[in-house]
Amino acid sequence: MAAPLALLLIVAVTIRAALFRTSLANLISERVEVVSPLNAWKRVVEGLALLDLDISPYSGDVFHETPMVIYLFHFLMDYAEITFMLADCLTAVALYLAVKDYNKQVFRKQKFALEADRIPMDCLELIRSPTEMYYIPLKVAMFYLLNPFTIVSCVAKCTCGCLIYGSALLSAIFLALATYQSIYPLTLCVPALLYLLQRLYIPVNVRRSSFWFYTLQYLFMFLGSLLVLICLSFFLLGSWDFLPAVYGFILSVPDLTPNIGLFWYFFAEMFDHFRLFFLCVFQINVFFYTLPLSIKLKEHPVFLIFMQIALIAIFKSYPTVGDLSLYMAFLPVWNHLYRFLRNIFLVSCVLLACSALFPVLWHLWIYAGSANSNFYYAITLLFSVAQILLVSDYFYAFLRREHHLTNGLYLKKKDGSEATLVLK
């Protein structure tokens, strides 16, 4: 599998390098759908310029990256393009390895289930064959690398985070790094924990001491690394200024620059009296799906991770298409759910149409002056609804497949005719 992956990486790097050289690079790096005040490259350069003038980058309101990023780019300034291409390639390779690992696990579980004779006979066609699964990691990598959104984000030099699963310690560290960068990956702590528990065959049972032991160990590692990172940032810049500038900014949404999310127009038109209330509601909305989803999907942590990443990408305060591309990269892993998806055609049409309409309506509002902000806002709404439908469709398909695996594929009603399944 190494050769196709290498070829894929080369193609991806070529596309990105070619785009960097053209004037499109500048154009793309200014687009609001691709960059947000949190991760725009222009703002990183501005932060570095302020640092050169001996002014703290956080004394103004332009720079909202974490201190580690400043110092990273302080040294890598000239190699910025290569850094981002490398980051993308590393992410792709990491995803590839992760999905390969996951596939092995799934296959193993399936084998056990087959041997234990737990699956009804007619479900055999639902079982995934090795051949089909062979190509999935490659497809995942391909999806990630060749997704136009990812390319565009790379070209715009966004600084999105990524996760790697491996050993518990490593995963805790990387999760802490991702949480440090923006708060939302905090919710990924739970699925990561569940995944590791599954790998170590510790059942998720509240009464078992081994569960608590492992959970506490993991949480300790996670919080410890997070604390180390925050203290390191403090020592890098010598002040706690970055806490309100980074985390306060993400949580309190003072900057209303238009983006593909729901927050900007909502808070631009909000009555002052209710601003705090709705801010809390919207931020809680991102976090509170963690617990119910974890309870429902405790046997399937990777799907849980996918759901969480998707929900974060839809409901976070400053989303960009880079976040979108990350969860879309996982879609090939759930190829086998295709037969149970109900709205996939509609959703994909809407997503494509919205992607095309975003730049058009932006131009009409900002440059031509013949549309107003409502047009762009409408497309934002549609885009979010399409994403929500996509995510809930996959969830439905996943649950349905699980139901069939336990109850049989061709179900019959009491009188023997073909039955329909509904959610009740």
């Binding site: 310029a49 004394s59 209303l256 709705f278 929900l311 440059y367 902000s373 809930s392 649950l399």
Partner: protein
């Protein structure tokens, strides 16, 4: 016993015909009051010094106060340099004394009190348009203060000046508008002009050459430029009556000196205009780096008024004017770019001196909603990069303070220096827009302060009796004079949300969130079941009847 405080009041009017045919009149009223504001003695007896200002100065421990209200923009290339520059709108800068502990709180109170005194909306001055310059706006009075934390500068470019501002300003004069030069200040003519600026400057000055005692000086200045073509008739002729629809009848009795100067600097060949009534008094003064000749009318002499007991100067042009001396320092500013997302501010500074280079200090205060990117700052003269030797940049904080950029630039001789910086326009909350949001947002004028090399040796002796207009800016050296130039204010459009939509937006966005919540709730709380169709209506009724009868159901 304490010495009775001494007062001195002088008034003067300078009339300077401009090369474009317009005429420039500059009034200055100067009250010097020998009271020690900085001491502990409470000042309670006010004679010539206006009580409202005196109380403000003592209460807020003000060392220097400069406030100006201007309508119109001074066209340097057509009119030359003004005696007292001022930016369009309102400008206020104050040096507080070092006994003040909470400068920001005192500043807020001071602006509100001044807003009441001058009937202007200075209460709009808050932390979002106040800056603390680090190098410009050094004190114009005595004392070497170096701690710029006691200085505050704010400008309101949107402020309109009208009769309501002129009336309280006139009330501060000792003679009011009853006698002396202030009878000419009638609003219907003064506001029918191209440029109108009224200002109040309070500062401590030395009383004697050794500067053992200080006194408080109050200068009220009013600069006005009347336009040739809007005043009717077309032929080039100006008189006091044509300008102000009044004539002078007497000097202010409280004034120690009351003079009218008319700039009659001759052309080498022929005097361009004829001045009547003729006056034997001629004086020369060095002002703005040039030696000019003035005809003087001394209003304290009864002879000035002639037999009609009124003085109406008449200037009649016979020949065309010669070439105007090009002002040495001049600047322009504009916004480049298109669309509502980003833009660039370009500031052009012209040095017209043929062989001397001199440094200038550029101060720009840009509101927070135009996010400046300082890494895009470029300064170039004659096509080459020109690095400023001093940059002080304070980035803005959203809704708290504006950007402050101060630079010391060296201008090469006979060149244009261009300062460019990119910005991004922010989307504001719907309540933060003015009622006319599509008019745009004003960016206050940039200030360029410089010591310009002078053609003629400047007079550094401060105690000589000099006309007021030439003694406003302190002169420390002979070879150069201080000049301040203001650029145009900018008008920038920001993207606006739809103001009719708050309720709709809240409903629609909450609907989307609810769609997400609803689908996930359904999938989380419900399980798959085989759908047993419920029996039809007839069967259900039959079942109900059968239950009553005790018979097995269908």
């Amino acid at each position: 016993c304490a010495r009775a405080p001494m007062y001195d009041f002088q008034e003067e009017l300078v009339i300077r015909p401009l090369h474009s045919g317009d005429i420039y009149a500059s009034f200055q009223f100067r009250t010097v009051w020998d009271a020690d504001f900085m001491g502990d003695q409470k000042v309670s007896h006010y004679r010539l010094f206006p009580k409202s200002l005196g109380q403000v100065i003592t209460k807020f421990s003000v060392r220097e106060l400069h406030i100006s209200f201007t309508q119109g923009y001074w066209r340097t290339m057509q009119w030359g340099q003004p005696y007292l520059p001022s930016p369009p709108g309102a400008e206020l800068w104050v040096w507080f004394q070092d006994t003040v502990t909470d400068v920001d709180g005192t500043w807020k109170e001071l602006t509100n009190v001044l807003s009441g005194i001058f009937c202007a909306s200075l209460n709009f001055i808050d932390s979002t348009n106040t800056v603390q310059p680090s190098a410009s706006f050094k004190p114009l009075g005595i004392g070497n203060v170096t701690d710029h934390s006691f200085l505050r500068y704010a400008t309101l470019p949107r402020e309109i000046v009208c009769t309501e501002n002129l009336t309280p300003w006139k009330k501060l004069l000792p003679c009011g508008s009853k006698a002396g030069l202030s009878v000419l200040l009638k609003s219907e003519k003064l506001f029918h002009s191209t440029f109108h600026s009224q200002a109040v400057h309070v500062r401590p000055v030395c009383q004697d050459p050794q500067c053992r005692t200080t006194s408080m000086e109050l200068r009220q200045t009013l600069n006005v430029v009347f336009d040739l073509h809007t005043s009717g008739q077309g032929k080039r002729e100006w008189s006091l009556f044509k300008m102000f629809s009044r004539t002078l009848t007497e000097a202010c009795p409280l004034a120690s000196s009351s003079k009218v100067y008319v700039d009659v600097t001759d052309n080498p060949q022929v005097r361009p205009f004829e001045l009547s009534p003729a006056t034997p008094l001629l004086t020369q003064a060095v002002v703005l780096g040039d030696r000019r000749t003035y005809s003087v009318y001394d209003l304290t002499q009864q002879a000035s008024f002639g037999s009609s007991r009124s003085l109406n100067m008449l200037l009649r042009w016979k020949a065309a004017d010669g070439e105007m001396l090009r002002p040495l320092l001049h600047s322009e500013r504009y916004v480049a770019g298109y669309g509502l997302q980003a833009g660039e501010i370009h500031t052009l500074i012209y040095n017209h001196h043929p062989y001397r280079a001199f440094p200038v200090l550029l101060l720009s205060a840009v509101p927070w909603y135009l996010r400046l990117y300082i890494h895009t700052l470029t300064v170039s003269s004659k096509g080459k990069d020109n690095r400023p030797s001093y940059i002080h940049y304070q980035p803005s904080k959203d809704r708290e303070r504006p950007h402050l950029l101060e630079m010391l630039l060296q201008l090469p001789p006979n060149s244009v220096t261009e300062v460019t910086v990119e910005f991004e326009r922010a989307l504001l909350k719907w309540t933060e827009y003015t009622p006319d949001p599509n008019h745009g947002f004003y960016v206050g004028s940039s200030v360029i302060s410089a010591l310009v090399p002078s053609v003629v040796a400047m007079d550094t002796n401060s105690t000589l009796d000099r006309p007021l207009f030439s003694s406003f800016f302190p002169c420390k050296e002979e070879a150069s004079y201080f000049m301040r130039v203001y650029t145009e204010p900018l008008l920038v459009n920001l993207p606006t949300p739809d103001f009719s939509m708050p309720y709709n937006v809240i409903c629609l966005t909450c609907t989307v969130v609810a769609v997400g919540y609803g689908s996930l709730y359904n999938l989380l709380t419900r399980t798959f079941q085989v759908d047993e169709p419920s029996p039809g209506l007839a069967k259900r009724i039959a079942n109900v009847i059968r239950r009553f009868r005790g018979v097995p159901l269908l």
